[in-house]
């Protein structure tokens, strides 16, 4: 399968790429890892007249710890994050990176591309929303920083202007006694998840002081389960509170029935995943090392 013909442009800096996008107009698209865009182009669902390739721009693939912030270059591949020391320092990020699609896709797909694509079934946004995450953006006009919860506005839609690119993703390390977990269920490795949950807890004296819970693949954008968070805040994490939070998440989910399952099935899936994820997050908050990743047959 071939995409429609297009003209190829290679940028040597993000600012140059943004300028090119502005000059080429609305028929131009940026090419990051290409693991969503190229399949869409082959199916001719996307037919850009121009592609601006970001893959030859230097110094856009990095993971830098500066103080209590972890900075991700926009072209950092999922596999680089999977194989980084974040596995122990920020395990929720490893949960996400290590389970996206398969080895081959993780070697190409990028964190910046995933966040900018805002696919309702994408993994990164759901994970990063439970952390304090900022998206830095660049255009010929300058730079700006947008909190992730204000960045994605709808399915496949962000606040990025057509001539604007993600230049960095900054994640604040959670305070001590925190633990997080991202769990997604998919039918097999290469496909999108059927449902996913991300949890971040801060514990103090055996009680949950703070909770952030987002649900993935069950809404047009990641769904914040505030009622589920409320069931945990101020409580100890025990089977009773976990079940209450899972029931609240079941109601918060707004899934569409599709080939991955009925709406009811996805609500049940969200509840089941959340029970496991809260348990893992609480154990991690206690300093336990727990390894989890996407679940598939």
């Amino acid at each position: 399968m071939f995409p429609r013909s297009f003209n190829y442009h290679r940028a040597s800096s993000l600012r140059e790429a943004a300028t090119m996008l502005g000059q080429l107009g609305s028929e131009a698209r940026a090419l990051a890892g290409g693991q969503s865009l190229i399949p869409l182009m082959k199916l001719r669902f996307a037919n850009p007249a121009h592609l601006v390739d970001l893959n030859f721009i230097k110094d856009t693939s990095y993971i830098r710890a500066e103080g209590d912030v972890v900075r991700f270059g926009p072209m950092t591949r999922h596999a680089e994050i999977e194989n980084s020391d974040l596995r122990t320092r920020l395990p929720i990020v490893h949960d996400c990176a290590a389970g996206i699609a398969d080895v081959q896709v993780r070697n190409r797909g990028t964190i910046g591309g995933s966040v900018a694509e805002a696919d309702p079934s994408g993994d990164w946004a759901t994970t990063l929303l439970t952390l304090n995450t900022e998206v830095r953006c660049i255009s010929a006009r300058g730079e700006r920083t947008v909190a992730l919860q204000n960045f994605i506005t709808d399915a496949y839609t962000t606040v990025l202007a057509p001539d604007e690119l993600v230049s960095e993703i900054d994640v604040k390390m959670p305070p001590k006694n925190s633990g997080g977990c991202y769990l997604a269920f998919k039918r097999c490795a290469p496909v999108y998840a059927s449902a996913a949950v991300a949890v971040q807890l801060r514990m103090e004296d055996g009680q949950c002081r703070d909770a952030a819970i987002y649900l993935g693949c069950v809404g047009l954008t990641p769904v914040r389960a505030t009622s589920a968070e409320g069931e945990l805040r101020g409580q100890s994490i025990n089977p009773d509170t976990i079940i209450k939070a899972a029931d609240a998440a079941r109601s918060a989910a707004d899934p569409q029935p599709d080939m991955r399952g009925s709406a009811d099935y996805k609500r049940s899936l969200v509840a089941g995943l959340l029970k496991r994820a809260i348990d893992v997050a609480a154990r991690r908050a206690r300093g336990e090392r727990v390894e989890v990743s996407h679940i598939y047959a």
Binding site: G34, L43, V103, Q104, R108, P190
Partner: protein, 157 residues
């Protein structure tokens, strides 16, 4: 008809250097098969699912149906033809033969590339590592059991 853009690229495939002028929409797998006549790399699903088109791109497995040839400018690529050395099959290829790791053979080039990469990273992989290592490669014949056995056998040397 508007003039079709052709982009000059330099690429090294299985140690041999090539200079080509490619149309931007040409997929990497098409360049490998049609321009370089290396037909060992297969096109299976053509939708980033099955992994039959897996090649090593600068040492890392990628699905060559989901990259443009023009993106390979300056890259080193290894295809299944590049696994044998001096007329000797790669140990994993030998193991696939001995353990009956294939039936129809369609997925085999991709399985070999993912398997060879896995073994280069984890010379003694656990069963879980093998399963995760070839999770991006689909086989519709074998049920995977003999493919696991072949990778385990190659790991034992």
């Amino acid at each position: 008809m508007p003039e079709v853009q052709r982009v000059p690229i330099k690429v090294k495939v299985n140690g041999k250097s090539y200079e080509l002028a490619v149309e931007p929409r040409m997929l990497l797998v098409e360049m490998i098969r049609e321009d370089l006549d290396l037909t060992g790399t297969h096109i299976g699903c053509d939708t980033t699912y099955c992994g039959a088109c897996t090649v090593l791109f600068n040492g890392l497995p990628v699905k060559s149906c989901t990259m443009f040839a023009v993106q390979a400018d300056g890259a080193e690529i290894t295809t299944v033809e590049g696994l044998e050395k001096d007329g000797h099959l790669h140990p994993l290829q030998e193991a696939f033969v001995n353990q009956h790791g294939l039936q129809c053979g369609y997925c085999t080039p991709g399985m070999l590339m993912s398997g060879a990469y896995l073994l280069s990273k984890h010379p003694h992989p656990s069963e879980q590592e093998i399963r995760k290592g070839i999770a991006g490669n689909t086989c519709r014949c074998t049920g995977y059991q003999n493919i696991f056995k072949a990778i385990e056998t190659a790991a034992k040397g």
